[in-house]
Symmetry: C2
Subunit: 209 residues, 2 copies
């Protein structure tokens, strides 16, 4: 039984290496442009190792897309509307240098090749944001009558559109600014005046701007 | 000189046929998946005919992308904020069955292959919307202090994101509803109360829902 934990640890390291390699290739060349052979080469592993951990390229892509929220680690604990703002801004900032988030952003427009209509990244993010907006609503941070489902979808649309626009113009360098800009417009519109004044719209931390 | 107009008319018909053929293929298979040979075949024309009218595949794609606004014909004359709403909703409705608009929507995420960072469809639409929002501002339809540039970008982000989300879930069938939904949230937020009450958010005309 002595070898067990070592073996397990090695398996986890291999799995992590495969995800990093796949993310790099998906981010640069997209889903169609990437093959399982290229992923194995990039990770310095055999094809057998890839298929031991993942059934196929689609499973790797789904793993990367659906675990995006775990990679977005906000710099402080927050709740309600502040959390929605923090998550979107942290995502925008980390997207500048995190290959897994970059792969997720790139795979969004190819996801019909590996996701089903009911299970997709837009819906996943809208549900996460919706949960925080329901907290915001209970805490009376939103103006009366705000449609939280419509707002959660609008935030996802805005992040998606801003990311694409920013990618083509500046390779995403101006994405954090664009996210701040739409929140400056949206916050006074949906938050109570006291909440809108309290919400912090901090640019990327630890990043010279 | 008798042959001239006939010749010119035929050239225009050929050009239009090429654009329709290219739009169909771009819409279905994207920019990378389409070749000039396939476009010629689809149009029932020779390769020579394609190259007589267009320098290459990129020029065809640019022609389709940058002429999108001409294809969005609103059902009534309108101005200011009503026009912004009408254009976005007409686009969403016509996208359901217009191959040229479908090609434009599909080409958006491949446009780095044929457009420059400074000349892209997002920016083009943001500028069109901005012009109408400036009219809206002069007519005092917007709340004081509304940032019209931020709003024009947010509308483009929202349309882009809604289109992508809708495409993966319903092949765009629910896009008009999604556009109505975000306007119901945005209008009371950015328009003066009198304007928000006056704006018509009509679903697709002549379309059974």
């Amino acid at each position: 039984m002595v070898g067990r934990p070592v073996k397990q640890e090695r398996a986890e390291r291999t799995r992590a290496a495969l995800i990093q390699a796949a993310a790099k290739l998906f981010g640069e060349q997209g889903f169609s442009g990437t093959s399982v052979v290229k992923i194995a080469d990039e990770a310095g592993l055999t094809l057998g190792a890839v298929y031991f951990h993942f059934r196929n390229k689609s499973e790797l892509a789904r793993e990367i897309v659906f675990r995006q929220p775990e990679w977005v680690v906000t710099p402080r604990p927050s709740e309600g509307l502040q959390r929605v703002v923090d998550v979107s801004l942290t995502w925008a900032c980390q997207l500048l240098d995190n290959p897994i988030l970059q792969a997720g952003a790139r795979l969004v427009w190819e996801q019909e090749q590996f996701n089903s209509p009911d299970e997709n990244s837009h819906r996943q993010w809208a549900e996460i944001i919706m949960d925080d907006l329901l907290v915001a609503q209970r805490r009376r941070e939103l103006r009366a009558g705000t449609d939280v489902q419509a707002l959660s979808r609008l935030v996802v649309y805005a992040c998606t559109g801003a990311q694409m626009h920013s990618f083509i113009e500046t390779r995403r360098a101006d994405l954090p600014e664009r996210v701040v800009e739409f929140w400056q417009l949206l916050l006074p519109a949906v938050a109570t005046p006291a909440t809108a004044r309290r919400i912090e719209l901090s640019e990327c931390r630890g990043r010279p701007e």
